[in-house]
Amino acid sequence: MRVVMTSNYFEILRGGINTTFQDKGRENLYHIGIPFSGVMDNRNFLLANKLVGNDLNAPVIEFAYQGPHLRYTGDQLNFVITGDVIFKIKKKGIEIDGDCYQSYHLENGDEINIISTNKSVYGYFAIGSEIDLNFQWNSCSINTKANIGSNNGKKLDTGQKINLLKINSDKTLKKVNYIKSKIENIRVIKGTNFDYFSEEGKKIFFEKEFVVSKLSDRMGMRLEGSKIENIINTNIKSEGLVKGVIQVPADGNPIIMLSDHGTVGGYPKIGVVVSVDYDRLVQLAPGSKVKFKEIELSDAETLFKLYEMETENLLNQI
């Protein structure tokens, strides 16, 4: 670890459940067993950075469910929280409710208490400053399973400090009106082992509701519901996986691969969540109901283009 003398820093009064530094992740490492990692919800990540005047790929703090409680020491800076998040700002002993998608000034001694995400999983805390972080393979993203990334690959913990380097000179406050579109179905493209499943199993997959299990994290989302019957083989020879792949192991319950997933796996792939729905998928909290809908590749590509244009429009409003 580098030792940096700095006068601007956050003390972590409470680490939160799974608080990590993230950026867009790392590429071209699947073949050695290292996944992308990076932010789970890309749109909220980009908006957070834009709202504090950072480079769009600057490191942010991602939290899940309960976030961190932080006390700031140093010169004035801007911060923002994106997602659907309940948080408080304490200035000179007075606590106010914070609004997401709106940047605030932070002065010496102020506190931010990120109480919880609301009917969602991930939120983002961006600071209008360069953060003192280690990078591995050009990314600060923390992968707690492989202990890769900044903070020695470990989640942020109570008692730690976050040291800042250069505070952004532009401290104009910004906001954006962003209303999250309601999600009806998660759209999928049939997987390479779709025919391993019985007619009844395929029907269950597309017609029945599944419930997001508590055993979900940055690696994968486990679903529970009617069992999906396999009629060929419950194992395949291990092969590569990508974000969004839905595997069905022998117990018949689907598992969706998320950003920190194992790079190879040996369970049949019934489907793959399309890119356009990934940001919304990861925000489904345990207990949420999910229904899958099949779409064609060409539609998935068009929908993704539209989603990217929408993100671009939101960024341009800031």
Binding site: F36, E239, G244, T263
Partner: protein, 225 residues
């Protein structure tokens, strides 16, 4: 021998080299893998070679399935590849404390531990792929008399350095990790070193591995430990 290309979702190609698991098929996969890496095709952001498949991930903001498919179909894989496959000796200690599945294997294979180790050590194994967890090599093929299934209930934590076998393969756990392979010993060798960003894996696809039996004294005296 690339038999078919299909899409895996909207941001990856699934290149199928057949259903067999053997060195010839895998070498073909590795040839494609190396050629595509050297070409640095715009938009491709990950390659995952395995026994008989190659998955090519791409950035849907930059390119799409049909564009990449077209490039792969017209790829010239006959170009001489200047890669040096290595031969790596991996020391393994089979002391009681490390051979977690000694009695299970003796029972399942109906062999004494001495017989199991004689069949396992001092043979050349081929690295088919690395992955699942960072740097874990999938090696083969082990002696036909050593082949058995995974544990019925996987361990929550297999210790780092554990050497496991299942079916026709052997592997090395590069981290403490959940896992269901039959553990026969432990290596003090650092198989994944993330301080070497350029080449963190000791063993790469195409390399050859020879396991050498060492004593507990040698294990404890090893520099890597």
């Amino acid at each position: 021998m690339l038999k078919n290309i299909s899409n895996l979702g909207d941001a990856a190609l699934y290149c199928d080299f057949g259903i067999q698991v053997n060195k010839a098929t895998n070498l073909e996969v590795i040839k494609y893998f190396n050629t595509i890496r050297e070409k640095k095709i715009k938009g491709i952001n990950n390659l995952t070679p395995s026994y008989n498949k190659l998955i090519i991930s791409f950035d849907l903001r930059v390119t799409n399935f049909s564009e990449i498919k077209n490039k792969i179909e017209n790829l010239d894989t006959t170009i001489e590849q200047n890669k040096n496959n290595k031969k790596i000796e991996v020391p393994v200690c089979c002391d009681e404390n490390f051979a977690l599945d000694k009695s299970r294997l003796e029972k399942k294979l109906n062999l004494s531990y001495q017989q199991i180790l004689t069949k396992f050590f001092n043979k050349e194994y081929f690295c088919y792929m690395t992955g699942f967890i960072a740097g874990m090599p999938f090696l083969g093929d082990i002696d036909e008399n050593l082949r058995t299934q995974r544990l019925e209930t996987p361990r929550v934590k297999v210790p780092q350095g554990s050497v496991g076998i299942t079916e026709q393969f052997a592997n090395i756990y590069t981290f403490d990790s959940p896992g269901g392979w039959n553990i026969i010993g432990n290596t003090p060798l650092k198989v994944f070193d993330d301080s070497k960003e350029r080449d963190p894996n000791l063993i790469n696809p195409g390399d050859t591995v020879i396991f050498k039996k060492i004593s507990l004294q040698e294990y404890e005296g090893s520099n890597d430990k």
